[in-house]
């Protein structure tokens, strides 16, 4: 099993690249841990908020002798943030308790890179028609821009951009299927 705690000493010295490697391994598990809250919180925003907070306090995280202490800590921070947000939004406390109990405590095995998936996606991406390919590339290149700004850059209406992006995503999934890769199964 990969132990992301090997990155802790570098992260503690303020090495953002090392934190990037931690996020690459941790994000999927972190997102999964918030799955039960998806109907009541913006999971994406909480994931980002959580990672920014973890970056700030990571130098004070002390490994506890078990692998992936920083990942387990991150999941706890995310859960606490999610609970705070449900309280702030005045979600029924019993619902919050139920959602909190449903979070994945033991989902601490980091994500491992899949070189085969990368290679097949690259092949499928090459086959995309122009407009969907443009929409996909623009979203990938500029996550700091809202869809309306990206659409404007591409000379598309926002809805047209979103339709092209949806088309790119579906065509990629279909193509991956032809290579025997079931995205839903990959994500399970």
């Amino acid at each position: 099993m990969i132990d992301l705690d090997t990155l802790l000493p570098d992260i503690a010295t303020g090495d953002a690249d090392a934190f990037g490697r931690f996020v690459a391994g941790a994000e999927s598990r972190l997102r999964d841990s918030l799955g039960s809250f998806a109907a009541v919180i913006d999971v994406e925003a909480v994931v980002q908020e959580c990672l920014l907070r973890v970056w700030q306090v990571a130098p004070r995280v002390v490994p506890d002798g078990r692998a992936n202490a920083l990942l387990r800590f991150t999941i706890r921070v995310a859960r606490n943030l999610a609970v705070s947000e449900t309280r702030r939004r005045r979600i029924d406390p019993e619902t919050t308790i139920r959602l909190e109990r449903a979070t994945l405590d033991d989902a601490c095995e980091p994500e491992q890179p899949d070189p085969l998936l990368r290679e097949v996606i690259a092949r499928c991406r090459e086959k995309l028609p122009d407009k969907p390919a443009q929409a996909l590339t623009a979203r990938l290149d500029g996550p700091w821009r809202a869809d309306v700004e990206i659409a404007e850059t591409l000379g598309m209406r926002t809805n047209t951009f979103l339709q092209n992006f949806t088309r790119a995503r579906r065509l990629l999934a279909e193509c991956l299927g032809k290579y025997g890769i079931d995205l839903a199964k990959e994500l399970a």
Binding site: G20, A24, A38, V43, E44, L52, L117, D147, N159
Partner: protein
């Protein structure tokens, strides 16, 4: 809300793009607020799929979420 309108909101809410409030906190997606509970769950599921694809396409294995967070850490 029509199915097309809902689908567009889900697609927008599934993007990693989020604004930053004046206190530095991450703003929730405007599209997220316009969705019902089913739509919000669908947006989270789609975001999960997209982040996985993005990470697989990135040479460093970073999703757009990861790149955004790193850009904020580096003062971007």
């Amino acid at each position: 809300m029509t199915d097309d309108e809902k689908a567009a909101l889900i697609e927008q809410a599934a993007s990693a793009h989020r604004g930053v409030a004046t206190d530095g906190s991450i703003r929730w997606a405007p599209a997220w607020w316009d969705l019902d509970e089913d739509g919000r769950v669908a947006a989270a599921a789609l975001a999960k799929e997209l982040r996985k694809l993005e990470a697989a396409m990135d040479p460093d294995g970073l999703s757009t979420t990861a790149r955004l967070v790193l850009s904020r850490i580096r003062g971007g």
